[in-house]
């Protein structure tokens, strides 16, 4: 029996009077990969931001390893060390080289030795095929390269949980693959991850469990085969239909991946 890493109970998030997340309950086990999908504005990204305490929550509890995450808590930065987050718009630090982007937090937050961090950073960069870019600045990289650096930057902190917030949404289609491949590799290593994405085929390949969010609630939670083949709710069916195109010339149906 694997242990629970993240536990969310009765989470409520409001922006003023707008209810964004309504009574979310979720347990994530160590090594589990959860993919969150749903129409835009359903609260997927907000859910990730709440887990990282980037958004204050109005009700319920979120705990990692049994420790509550709370934006006022003093140990917040200790908790955040354990949660790596990768954003849609990469958000590398433009004034630092790739290597320094990766090394900043391990050096300043974890106070690790420079030699050791540098070695690890270079190894991780090599793994995503970017070792020779270590001295480059973010502006010299393509979108896909920036996003791979952002993933390495998160990994170098040795997080227990990785959050991916639509990490391919801002990328040109031909760069999506290189980033998704990196995430697939991480899944293969047994990392615990929560991924928000619109890439349905990728979701199917990487997920242990799909969460379908709509209107701020979890509508379905099921293994990918089950969710994609036999969605239980009408809303999920409707949502999945938006990714399917009826062929106009032949009787065959084609499933096409949404590209942006």
């Amino acid at each position: 029996m694997t242990e629970t890493l993240l536990k969310i109970e009765h989470l409520v998030k409001k922006f003023d009077d707008n209810l964004i997340l309504d009574d979310i309950n979720l347990e994530v086990k160590k090594g589990e990969v959860i993919v969150v999908i749903g129409p835009s504005g359903c609260g997927k990204s907000t859910l990730l931001r709440c887990i990282n305490a980037l958004e204050p929550i109005q009700g319920g509890t979120i705990s990692l390893d049994g420790e509550p995450i709370d934006d006022k808590s003093r140990s917040l930065s200790v908790l955040r060390e354990k949660i790596g987050m990768v954003f849609q718009s990469y958000e590398l630090f433009p004034h630092l080289s790739v290597l320094n982007n990766v090394m900043l937090a391990p050096l300043k937050v974890q106070k690790r030795k420079k030699e050791e961090v540098k070695e690890e950073a270079l190894t991780l960069l090599e793994r995503v095929g970017l070792k020779e870019k270590a001295g480059s600045f973010p502006r010299q990289l393509s979108g896909g390269q920036k996003q791979r650096v952002a993933i390495v930057r998160a990994l170098c902190m040795h997080p227990e949980l990785l959050l991916f917030d639509e990490v391919t949404a801002a990328l040109d289609p031909e760069m999506v693959r290189e980033v998704l491949d990196v995430i697939l590799k991480l899944a293969a290593q047994g990392r615990t991850m929560i991924i928000v994405t619109h890439e349905m085929q990728f979701a199917q390949a990487v997920a242990d469990r799909i969460l379908f969010l709509d209107g701020g609630s979890i509508i379905e939670s099921a293994p990918p085969e089950e969710f994609f083949e036999h969605p239980k709710t009408d809303r999920a069916k409707q949502f999945l239909n938006t990714f399917t195109f009826e062929a106009v010339k032949t009787p065959h149906k084609t499933i096409k991946e949404e590209e942006d």
Binding site: V78, L92, L104
Partner: protein, 224 residues
């Protein structure tokens, strides 16, 4: 070849006097710069705060200083305060005061602009990595703000140096006033002195400002 009146520059102490005038202009503007930059940084940071009253007051200050011609400000501070409050400010003190008020206002707006131009995601990605608030500012926000600010504030410094040409109006004998005195004194002997002397003044301003603006260009190239 027309008589450009250059020989006047070589007469007596004329060139030295011009240089002394330039020094006064630089002393006034650079003293004001030294006051304006920290004060502007402070006010600029306050302008990004949420407190509406503070923001409104600072905005008002900025707008008033911007709308009013520097010459009018100089007159108010130099002549106005003597009558109204009985202050006996020297021309130089009044100039430093006005230039500091003006420089602080302009600088605060530059700082505000640079601060709000840093996307909120930069703060968030720093925090998401576990950096504390202070560390986010120290390693991420301030270095980026600084880079945006340096070329802009250097531009402000050269504007302040050039604007000292107004302070002869309140009786400060700076480089332009010295030039006028030299021309005046040599009206009979070399009536064409105006060209040569003003040319020298032009070159002196150029020599003072050009290296500063080249430095700004260099930094811009290095950081962009």
């Amino acid at each position: 070849m027309p008589d450009l009146g250059l020989e006047v520059l070589l007469k007596g102490q004329n060139m030295v006097r011009l240089l002394e005038g330039l020094w006064i202009a630089l002393r006034i503007s650079l003293t004001a710069v030294v006051i304006s930059i920290p004060a502007g940084i402070l006010l600029g940071a306050m302008m990004t705060r949420k407190n509406r009253v503070v923001r409104a007051v600072l905005r008002l200050y900025l707008e008033i200083i911007r709308i009013m011609p520097q010459m009018v400000l100089l007159f108010i501070v130099f002549f106005g305060t003597t009558r109204a409050f009985g202050w006996d400010l020297s021309g130089e003190t009044a100039s430093i005061l006005v230039f500091s008020l003006w420089g602080t206002a302009e600088m605060s707006d530059l700082v505000r602009g640079a601060l709000i131009s840093i996307p909120v995601h930069q703060y968030e990605s720093g925090e998401a990595l576990g950096l504390r608030r202070v560390q986010v500012y120290r390693y991420i926000i301030i270095p980026q703000t600084f880079r945006r600010l340096v070329p802009l504030s250097i531009n402000l410094i050269t504007r302040m140096i050039k604007t000292t040409s107004l302070i002869l109006m309140i009786g400060v004998v700076e480089v332009l006033k010295v030039a006028q005195q030299i021309i005046e004194a040599n009206r009979m002997a070399s009536p064409n002195a105006a060209f040569g002397v003003y040319l020298a003044v032009f070159l002196l301003y150029f020599i003072a400002c050009w290296p500063i603006s080249m430095f700004a260009k260099y930094l811009e190239k290095r950081w962009r």
